[in-house]
Amino acid sequence: MNASPVQALRELEPILRELEQSRSQQVHRFAQITLWSVVVGGLLSLGLALFRAGAWALAPLVLALIVVGIVYASKADEWRKSFKWRVMTRLVKYVNPNMEYHPERYVSEREYELSLLFHNSPTPDRYRGEDLIEGVIQKTDIRLSELHTEYRQVSYDSKGRRQEHWVTIFRGLFISADFHKHFQGVTLVLPDTEQSWLGGFGQWLQSLSAKLGNQPGELVKMEDPEFEKQFKVFSTDQIEARYILTPSLIRRIVDFRNKTRSPIRLSFVASRVFVAVPTAHNHFEPPSLFAPANKLLEPETLAQYFEELRFALAVVDELNLNTRIWTKQ
């Protein structure tokens, strides 16, 4: 985590220039294709209209617009890919030389299931992701990517017609890292909704929900009032939960949550920690194909990617995962 955005910008400049050049070429070519398709389609439509072809006269124009759409999609995809391969892979190395970036890969569904973070939601019917970053930071191996998981909901309207909806379970950054202590059970740290509304009664509902088997183990009450307001903890072992969640880690989680300003959730399973940070923003994406000229070359653009990467990798420092004074080395 040594290189500064300025230094990275200096070294990446030739690549960025090249990319910027190819981007403006692509935009130019796209404009030509659009112009030609619309002119040809328009003329054909006009011709057909003169022959009184009725509504069919519009067909060539519609066809032309479809062609334009397809060309745009393929150009945008190409641009994204070349940006990710050529710029992001290098940027990740600048932020941390031990990390690898794989634009097309993502955290596996097995790991997602293992984390139990969304064990109360249905199993996803659609599991997608991108931007996998993995590697070892000192002693902690870490893997993170963007994920978007959804399930299919089928409903029938009043006329008995079948309707399908995709419901999002989770969308955001999913992080899986080695935890610095050994443990056997399962501990979940979930965003608290009931207690902040209903106070003590909410807490009673939570412990009832654990007793009914909706959550693994039982409700664990922590001493930190701010933490208790934001989260609820369930664990198969009361002592182990507190062994993992020391007062200092609890503070760190509260700080991390305040920094992300989103309802994060954590789980501690199989000596690993899993963190899900819901975000609406799609990370690590290039500026739009039609962004103002030379936007890519502005230092702010690059600084923003740096910021995003640092944020994603910060979990190791934020949760102090590298401190190994315990028997797990």
Partner: protein, 191 residues
């Protein structure tokens, strides 16, 4: 007719009250047992620490000539804590004294670089850290269970039942003054 209806009402009411009493009574018993269970959780970890100490003292002894007094104190505290006839309150005091003596030892270790190169010692130190961490977790579990019980004893309506059961408030563990204060190293070496 009215008499029968009245009797049924009274009967249903009494049954309801008895049922409520049973639920509250059981929840209080559950909380009381939770406290005892949590207490035994601390005991398990304290025992682990007792088992570790002889090994630690033996490893450290040959390096730390100047710390002989501290080591003897640790050994003595350990054997006192192991005495089965020790009253409960005193035993807790001995354990707390042992905690602070061990902490002092770990600070004194910083002065012996050869010791820090000793693999056996490093392993023991990691184990001790782990056990101390577990003790802290067990104490916090105990405190949470005690708070839960105390709340039930003082809050309505369980307070009525608790008083008939003779349940008393328990005290939570508190960090000692020395634990709260940042240790002053020079002070420690004067001992």
């Amino acid at each position: 007719m009215e008499l029968i209806a009245g009797l049924i009402c009274v009967g249903v009411g009494a049954l309801g009250l008895a049922f409520l009493y049973a639920i509250l009574y059981n929840s209080l018993i559950g909380k009381k047992n939770q406290v005892e269970y949590a207490y035994s959780g601390i005991d398990v970890q304290l025992k682990k620490r007792h088992d570790l100490i002889p090994n630690l003292v033996a490893t450290v002894k040959q390096y730390m000539e100047h710390e002989r007094g501290l080591l003897e104190r640790i050994t003595e505290l350990r054997s006192r804590a192991l005495n089965p006839n020790l009253p409960e309150g005193e035993r807790l005091q001995v354990e707390t004294a042992l905690s602070s003596a061990l902490r002092n030892l770990m600070i004194a270790v910083e002065n012996y670089p050869q010791l820090r190169a000793n693999e056996n010692f490093m392993h023991l130190q990691a184990s001790l850290n782990e056990i101390e961490e577990q003790i802290a977790a067990a104490r916090r579990t105990y405190n949470a269970a005690v708070t839960d019980l105390n709340n039930a004893i003082e809050m309505f309506p369980t307070n009525i039942i608790a008083s008939t059961m003779g349940l008393k408030r328990r005290t939570v563990f508190e960090a000692e003054e020395t634990e709260r204060a940042t240790p002053s190293v020079s002070q420690l070496f004067k001992q």
